[in-house]
Amino acid sequence: MMDFSLPQRQSIAALLNIIVRTTKTTLGWAWFIYASILLKQNNDQPKEGTSYILWGTVVILVFIIGRSIVEWLRFTFYIQQEQLIVNKGIFTKNQMIIPIEKIQTVHIEQHIWHRMTATCKLIIDTAGTNKEELTIHALPTQTAAAIKILLLQEKQSDTHFQTPNNQTIISLSFTDLLKLSFTANHLETFVIIFFFTIGKLDDLGKLFHFSSTDWIIEKSMEQEAINYSWQLISTGIAIVLLFSVAASIIRMAIKYYHFTISLSAKGFEANWGLIQHKQEIIPIHKIQFIAWKSNWIRRKIGMYLLHLKAVGEDELKKNQKIQIPITQLAQLQTMIKHYQANIPSQINTDINTVHRSFFWRMYILFQLPFLVITGGVLFFWIEWKALLLIIIAVYWLIAGLYKLKNFQYWITESAVKIQTGVWGRNYTVLNWKKIQLVSIAQSLYQKRKQLATLEMHTASGTIKLPYIDAEKAYFLADYITMQIEMKEEVQDQNQENNTNVSQLIP
């Protein structure tokens, strides 16, 4: 049994990690100096530049190693009186006290080098900050697991459901992995790679007094070279597009390799990742709402990405948020039923929609004027070609009408399900009990038209029902408030109730 009441240090492997991190940060600014010295060194006296580099490297290495050792020595942590106490700091001593009850999630990550040294990274999150509260970069795997159990023990005690140990709900097969990889958003990867490449080329260009963006603009402006440059650009785009398809396939395959979700007494336990193995436990009572989405292709093959929006979820980095791939509808229902017994659309088929002005006002007041002004400005530059903007206007009209048509919601006594999307679909299920406060927002126009926007604020974000009947909004606000304020025992009695709340709306 490990005694965490005594100060603990990170594994010695953490020292290596600190050295790598410090080196990375140091080289971030040092490489520019090195490159400048190398480029500007006097050809008559090349040794002078080399000796500067040599001495500079020695100084930097000593700094990196010294700083890393001090950082490793100064970092200690222990658990006392239900508090996690962390001492750290290089030049100034810094003590961080985290009450265990405030800890929302504990993540364990394992990169390849962690596996080689039998360690892992422990990330601790509370609901009070915009980033993870504490990261312990390398702990022996067993120690990390023991701390995780200890820190989450309090949380587990109030979990009121009993399940058999680690019942696997989702296990991604090779075919599922392939489907997921091929249906990824390749366009997004393309845009990321395109701008990343341009950015990096510009960084390098600064050294050689060359700007890739300027080059593209210049080439496209030259009338004689226009065909040549457009050919070159389109070939370049085709290559990058092909490369980005390959990259996004590889990215998804690496990310979702060996993805499993199992259910235990602690909650949903997720394990995933090839290079970086990650593990996360999401206590079910911490889930505020559940959302799932699919793009057009995935929808056709019945594949969705499920997102369990837990307390503090918004504060996590994008790559720490789990998106659970769903390949069968049964998996979705198994996951959701632990948060919300019935999906509202399954027990209440009354579809509610939003008012048409939800789209038309946006289109007429903002999108069309924007296109007219842009077209007017572009006319002076590309003349009648500016009329091509009509295509965008038509696209926005069609997309907007689809968006309006697809905005639907279903209400039951205990929850709401919302569907949105243009070509793909996004779904959200929210249990009334998870709402923190309700707001009704009305603009002057909405007031005149007897419309309102219902805002349901949770500890993991706000969900809106825009442009609905004002009377319905008031009824729902009153009803939700009653649900929140009702005592637990009354709520439990009513859980079995499947009343169609829509029928109550006057």
Binding site: A127, K286, V311, D314, E413, K433, K434, I435, Q436, L437, V438, S439, I440, A441, Q442, S443, L444, K447, E455, H457, T458, A459, S460, G461, T462, Y474, F475, A477, D478, Y479, T481, M482, I484, E485, M486, K487, E488, Q493, N494, E496, N497, T499, L504, I505, P506
Partner: protein, 178 residues
């Protein structure tokens, strides 16, 4: 096993629309006017400084348009302050607090007492001059961290804070939805 299926009637649900909202203290309008007055005065001083020191701005058209824009903004702000002030109102119920604010974009917030994490009474120098204070109610909601009721009497705000804390402690469910 007992099975409950109690019908909930629309008339049984406490309705917010029928609530008698209480207006905030009329002195708060004076606080708003003074605060905005100070803002416009500082802005005017900076603008006058710019017109004195920057040669390019010493142009009749520029000066006339700037003064016109300034006066328009000043009048519009003071008109809107007066209109918006009239919509600021609140109601205290046994289990929640309702607060209405805004005119062009009106918001009505219902804050259940069992969702309040903590509450703070605060007052600035101008508010103190009129014995006024604001009460901020904090919940765990992301994106709307606090709802602040302005224009309460200092004593009222403190009493309300104590009452909320008492209610939280003794009479209502401790479930905070987290």
């Amino acid at each position: 096993m007992q099975f409950y299926n109690i019908q909930v009637l629309w008339s049984d649900i406490p309705q917010m629309q029928t609530l008698q909202l209480q207006k905030i203290q009329p002195q708060y309008l004076r606080v708003l006017q003074i605060s905005w007055g100070i803002f416009f005065a500082i802005f005017a001083i900076i603008a006058i400084g710019c017109f004195i020191w920057i040669e390019e701005l010493k142009n009749t058209i520029v000066i006339v348009s700037a003064v016109a824009a300034y006066l328009l903004a000043l009048i519009l702000t003071f008109v809107l302050i007066n209109i918006a002030f009239k919509t600021k109102a609140y109601a205290i119920r046994e289990k929640d607090i309702v607060y209405r604010t805004g005119y062009i974009f009106q918001d009505i917030h219902i804050i259940p007492l069992n969702r309040i994490q903590h509450c703070v009474v605060q007052s600035g120098p101008i508010e103190r001059k009129y014995h006024l204070a604001s009460l901020s109610l904090y919940t765990a909601a992301v994106g709307i961290h606090d709802i602040t009721i302005h224009g309460l009497l200092q004593t009222e705000a403190e009493q309300l804070r104590e009452w909320i804390l008492q209610q939280k402690q003794f009479s209502i469910s401790q479930d905070d939805g987290l």
